[in-house]
Symmetry: C2
Subunit: 122 residues, 2 copies
DNA sequence: GCCTTATTCAACCAATCAGTTGTATAGTGA
DNA sequence: TCACTATACAACTGATTGGTTGAATAAGGC
């Protein structure tokens, strides 16, 4: 069995492609077949099938069976887990920032010292 | 419209690598130099520098200047935007699922009856 | 002015990726 | 059975990626 739980590598990787995000967007409105998913794109069915495989491997999509069709639908939990991870993360960052603000107050290395770096020749 | 705004491709792509997620985790506890970031990894400084470049290009990290050092720190907003995108998304999905549930009133785990367009035979 | 430290740039390499075409499998309907 | 539809598999290709080594750049300390 392939990893059905959330694989952060695979999940983020899957969502890093705009075509796949579009597919996921489409699936958010309900299940669809490969053919239906492929329609808006200028892509072969095989390419879309591959994208679906990537999403499925990442645990974001599940496939069913309806005669010759293999409709895809989103797997809610994975998306929830991903969101959870990011939320945790963001909380952590915010906290860190507050600590940093408290430490620095007014003195620190100024955020962006615009160093006009003249490029030298070789 | 913000041109610095988040690039979903780049942001998700950046977070799809475990080394980069570890770097981001480290940075969530405060800024760090390339050398400091590289320490826990069995990687060259150049490799870590490249990872930082990826994160910077994605808008997730900002670089500063402190003498020879170029400390990296997280860029809070990007992380917030990413989380926001996913939250929106998840909301959409949940809504879709509720609609689907209403239609099917069935066990979503069973692979067989996935769509309302069931045409199976045999 | 050298050294030393911190970081990046440049070139390269192997692996992976997104796409293609062509073929094969699975299921329906006659 | 045979034709048709929907999808997957296989092999290939060019581009990208994650890593390396080696050289260059930037800044400070002596």
């Amino acid at each position: 069995m392939r990893t059905t739980a959330l694989d952060l590598d695979a999940a983020f990787g899957a969502l890093s492609d705009p075509t796949r995000r579009a597919i996921v967007s489409r699936l958010a409105r309900g299940p669809a077949t490969v053919g239906e998913l492929a329609e808006p794109f200028d892509l072969t069915l095989q390419a879309v099938s591959k994208h679906l495989a990537v999403l499925t491997r990442a645990g974001l999509v599940e496939r069913g069976r309806d005669a010759q069709r293999r409709p895809a639908r989103l797997s809610g939990p994975a998306l929830g887990d991903l969101t959870g991870w990011l939320l945790d993360f963001r909380a952590h960052v915010t906290e860190g920032y507050e600590r940093l603000d408290a430490l620095l107050a007014d003195d620190p290395q100024t955020p962006s010292p615009p160093t006009p770096r003249a490029r030298r020749k070789r």
